[in-house]
Amino acid sequence: MASTVIDLERVGKRYRLGEHHGSGADLRETLAALGRRIRHRAHPQTRDLWSLRDVSLSIERGQAVGIIGLNGAGKSTLLKVINGITTPTEGRSRTRGRIGSLLEVGTGFHGELTGTENTYLNGAILGMSRREVASKIDSIVDFAGLARFMDTPVKRYSSGMYLRLGFAIAAHMEADILLVDEVLAVGDVEFQRKCLGKMSEVEQSGRTVLFVSHNMDAMVRLCPRAVWLEEGRVRAIGPTEQLVGEYVRLTAVEVPEVAFVERASGPAEIVAISLRDPTGSPASTLTTRTTAHVEIEIGVHEEIPGLDVGCMITTHAGAVLLDELMSDDGPRPIGRPGRYRIRCTLPPVLPPGQYSIGVVLGTHYELIDSKENAVSFVVDGDDLGRTRRLFKLGLPWDVERADDHLRPGT
């Protein structure tokens, strides 16, 4: 049943910079441009940006395909062209069947309308008929867990409820092609789990999934095949595991220390983050035996009772390995104005691989500053063939004889 459902032929998408850019141009600009065109037959002030160029792609029914690439490589534009939101400047894109998207769940909700009213409206916007929504509304409400709030205007919803309702509607649309763009970055763990579950369900039912994400881990698990975009062009198409491996190798740059521009405007801020080896110098490469320190410098500008610092270590594939709070180790007085240098000891528990460090600053109630993936480093060494593990702990083991007749006293 090899049948193509997405077919792109030399697709290019050009954006004009300098003219008609952003929020609409005014008439004077256009008249001026017209004048220039009459005199010079050229637009001297426009710069073309090709967000996609010469992209040819054909995807069969039932495939789950991942799209990888750096920011600005054209991933989102590609989905917009396939979805029909934007028109290619050259080439053509063809699709078969209904397209569903988990791009922007809840788009088009109106705050004054109730949950039920918004469900019908949003369903219609996504292309569902009134009958279709009516037959699924019980299941949608159930999925979102909002049975008691369906007659409440959504302006009274929390952002989590809003997201859940939007997702439940989008997930109940029976799409032949499902587009997913980074939704995993938002929402809580439970929401992400539902989202991934929905994707694999769609895939198993023989429909097509296109998945854009920076979460390489999820990408490898969900998509057998991937497309690698680079500056708007297709760099490679192939098995996801192989592509992701190469992509990670090529795009990783180790940054052992970083200092931030101080604003001194907020109540407190993160000033610098670095990874240091036992001698105290910045290190971008550790061995599997090195005990290192994450050094964080903060500036506190106001008295903040209960100020706390958190440190996260993430694998290059996006899995959060550690999320430690300083207060877990007992209270530390950093709430008074001033500068503090804070060190967190990182024991040699990481297997070979690439990691990044993020830092958050805040209290129990409020996030004041955060720097995600600010510092990155490599752990070098032999993985001893155990490539899939996340930690290398050297746990204590214990052995005793268990054959009864040899025990003394019997």
Binding site: V5, T86, T87, G91, R96, R98, L121, R207
Partner: protein, 288 residues
């Protein structure tokens, strides 16, 4: 796979849908595509209608209060003070119909012209026929138009005048179609151009004032000198007002020649608006 899935059974695939750059000078109008999204038009219209009266103390009663207050003001200003005379007919009924038509025109032109702008996040995130948005704005204000017209009819009977039965059966629907066609064309044109040129909203403000004075809303066409009559009916609002007042107020209908003129302009406006919209809609998501 669920039976309601559009691809149906294995091997039977939905037809190709193409997304490519425009070819040719004349855009395709693709009106069947809009028809398949008629439910969405209804939902957008319903949304705007509901939102208007949510948390409003008087609620739908506003639709009755507004035209009455408007017509009283018209009557005091133009009939009593400026001494505008419309012969044997009730000026109050006359101005109720004028107010209803005018407020439909101005309300929808403003709402419709901004419809793409107000829904910018939808344009950049969801794919659906863009024409749906301005079309949906034509509907909610029809309720007010109907209420205003009904009040006009009641005022006519209340003043002891006789509405025209022929006018009610023929003039009313034709006048309504003429009005909606005119507004639709205007709204297509302005909504599409406002995406690119924000100046249009400024233009809209004083443009509407000019149209108000140039249309026989508060005064009858009989006040206009004969040599200017033709120019007056180039404005389709004149034709529409004439037809509605024929039925509701019992006045004489406009001549066939005058009506033809109004109809022609309305059709030209609709065609031009539709064409302009279709020519530019591919860029909406990129430049809004």
């Amino acid at each position: 796979m669920s039976p309601s899935s559009p691809t149906g059974e294995e091997g039977r695939l939905a037809p190709w849908r193409e997304n490519g750059s425009r070819t040719g000078r004349w855009p395709a109008l693709r009106l069947t595509e809009v028809w398949t999204f008629r439910e969405l038009i209804g939902f957008f219209a319903l949304r705007d209608f509901k939102v208007r009266y949510k948390q409003a103390f008087l609620g739908v009663a506003w639709a009755v209060v507004q035209p009455l207050v408007g017509a009283v003001a018209f009557t005091l200003l133009f009939h009593q003070l400026a001494d505008i005379d419309i012969g044997d007919h009730s000026y109050f009924a006359f101005s109720l119909v004028g107010y209803a038509v005018w407020s439909y025109f101005s309300t929808v032109v403003v709402a419709g012209s901004n419809s793409l702008l107000y829904n910018a996040d939808l344009l950049t995130k969801v794919a659906f026929p863009r024409l749906v948005l301005p079309i949906a704005t034509l509907l909610p204000a029809l309720v007010d138009l109907a209420i205003g017209s009904a009040l006009g009819l009641v005022a006519t009977i209340g003043a002891g005048e006789r509405p025209s039965p022929v006018g009610l059966v023929i003039g009313l629907p034709v006048g309504l179609v003429l009005l909606v066609v005119t507004v639709a064309g205007t709204v297509f044109l302005f909504s599409a151009s406002i995406v690119r040129y924000r100046d249009v909203s400024v233009l809209l403000g004083f443009g509407l004032q000019v149209v108000l004075f140039a249309s026989p809303v508060a005064y009858p066409t009989s006040l206009v000198p004969d040599e200017w009559r033709t120019v007056m009916y180039l404005n389709p609002l004149a034709g529409s007002l004439g037809l509605l007042r024929w039925g509701l107020v019992g006045m004489d209908p406009p001549s066939a020649a005058d009506l033809l003129l109004s109809t022609l302009t309305a059709v030209v406006i609709l065609g031009a608006g539709l064409m302009y919209f279709r020519r530019n809609e591919q860029e909406f998501a990129d430049i809004i």
